[in-house]
């Protein structure tokens, strides 16, 4: 038995908004792999819950009318990894979410829950940051769409207004077309572990594959919320594909990130691996984009 005060099950998105308005103290539960564990730990004990798990219209991945990849917020990690749309257009997101927890967690865990709990280590978040994802939020006032970088406010806090829920994550066509990416998770175990650091990089090369037209990099656990390393991006953008560019790019991430000491890893260690991960993830991304790094 869980220490739950009451459970309200929403049958549709408008129903969820109505239940959240009727029960302003209630917390949203999606797959529950964070919420139920927190209740078990006593952190959210005695909570009223609005369950959105039964809203099937919030599941699935498709391309919308403008060519954006639309991921319903309740889509599980395993369904994202298996989605033909994801495999064709942004395979790195499937790879990143395949590193969350273990197989059973990837069947229950949702991408909406992963981003709404506002945790910096979320394996999906750094890749969504690195691909300029947008979140769709539905509430009493209707639907709004904001960049994921504005959605995260501080550790554990995202921009969800009263009675609002996240209904989809979108990756616009201009953000994914022509880009190739790689995600590296550094953790102590290969399964059922939380990242000490996560790094997601993607590049778009010029037609001759000799110059970096654009590059984007984002980290998880390099600060209180997922973040982009913009100095590194500026350093490499427009530069020739060669080992010096990769090195300069990787070194520059230290200008942007500010990891902390924790029981999982020391700050100095996180900084050390951040540089190495940037180097490896960029190298892999360039190779995937058809480029060659000649020594």
């Amino acid at each position: 038995m869980y220490d739950i005060k009451a459970l309200y099950e929403a049958e549709s998105i408008p129903d969820a908004v109505r239940l959240l308005q009727e029960h302003p103290e209630a917390q949203i539960i999606a797959g529950g792999s964070d919420v139920l564990v927190q209740i078990r730990e006593g952190k959210r004990a005695g909570a009223e819950l609005v369950s959105i798990y039964g809203i099937d219209e919030m599941r699935g991945v498709c391309l919308d009318g403008e060519g954006a990849i639309r991921i319903g917020s309740l889509t599980s990690f395993s369904h994202i990894a298996a989605s033909p749309v994801i495999r064709e257009h942004i395979p790195v997101l499937g790879e990143a979410v395949s590193l969350v927890g273990g197989p059973q967690i990837r069947n229950i865990g949702t991408i909406g829950g992963n981003t709404c709990n506002g945790v910096t280590s979320a394996d999906s978040a750094s890749t969504l940051f690195a691909w300029d994802a947008e979140v769709e939020l539905t509430g009493p006032e209707g639907i709004r769409r904001i960049p994921i970088r504005e959605f995260y406010i501080r550790a554990g806090k995202v921009d969800l207004k009263p009675a609002e829920l996240q209904t989809a994550i979108l990756i616009p066509k201009k953000a994914y077309e022509g880009y190739h990416g790689n995600y590296i998770k550094y953790a102590m175990r290969e399964a059922m572990d939380i990242a000490n650091l996560g790094c997601s990089v993607n590049v778009s090369l010029t037609g001759d594959k000799k110059t970096i037209r654009d590059v984007r990099i984002a980290y998880g656990v390099a600060g209180p919320i997922p973040m982009r390393a913009e100095t590194a991006e500026k350093t490499a953008r427009g530069r020739e594909v060669n080992p010096e560019t990769v090195k300069a790019f990787a070194r520059a991430v230290l200008e942007d990130i500010h990891p902390r000491d924790s029981w999982r890893a020391a700050k100095a260690f996180r900084e050390h691996i951040a540089v190495e991960m940037a180097k490896r993830a960029l190298t892999t991304s360039i190779t995937l984009a058809g480029g060659e790094i000649r020594e």
């Binding site: 869980y2 739950i4 009451a6 459970l7 369950s51 399964a191 059922m192």
Partner: protein, 169 residues
């Protein structure tokens, strides 16, 4: 505090069942207490050890972090559902015995249900894929290698039998 209940109708191991659940119950609570399906173990109860793993609509879930209320309308398979018509155990259970993949046995039902999900796909998985797919189970008797062997052996046996049947047609 007012207790809140919900009528849950679902299919458990091929049979249509219904029960009134306390909304605070996990699916582990429901399967063990209402249906005496005690292969579903209470281990960590926070979704880490995999001892309570069951199949819901063909996919593996840790039933300890799944609300019983969500089981309404679902098709659930537990280890008990693998039993043959005359009480025989299934090939994957026999393989666990043959490969000494069981020691204390606490993780075994959960691990076997992950194996069932894999075997139901009816395709050959690489060693790496099997290891990843079985990675949601903690075994404190350090039997991972034997568990891996049991799953791989059963997969290959079933595939060989399936291709034998096709050739016979």
């Amino acid at each position: 505090m007012n207790k809140q209940y919900k009528l849950v109708r679902c299919t458990i191991n091929g049979k249509e069942r219904e029960t009134m659940v306390d909304v605070r119950a996990s699916l582990t609570d429901m399967l063990r207490n209402d249906f005496r399906l005690t292969s579903v173990k209470k281990g960590c109860e926070v979704g880490e050890c995999g001892a309570c793993n069951v199949l819901i609509n063909g996919e593996c879930f840790n039933s300890c972090i799944y609300l019983a209320a969500w089981a309404d309308g679902k098709e659930i398979l537990t280890l008990e559902g693998l039993e043959g018509p005359n009480g025989e155990i299934s090939d994957i259970q026999q393989a666990f015995i043959d490969e000494a993949a069981v020691q204390c046995g606490f993780c075994t039902p959960g691990a076997i249900m992950s194996a069932v999900e894999i075997l139901n796909e009816g395709r050959e998985l690489s060693d790496e894929e099997i290891r990843i797919r079985m990675s949601g189970h903690l075994c404190r008797c350090t039997g991972y290698e034997n568990i891996f062997r049991a799953v791989k052996k059963t997969m290959l046996k079933r595939l060989a039998a399936a291709s034998g049947n096709r050739q016979g047609e």
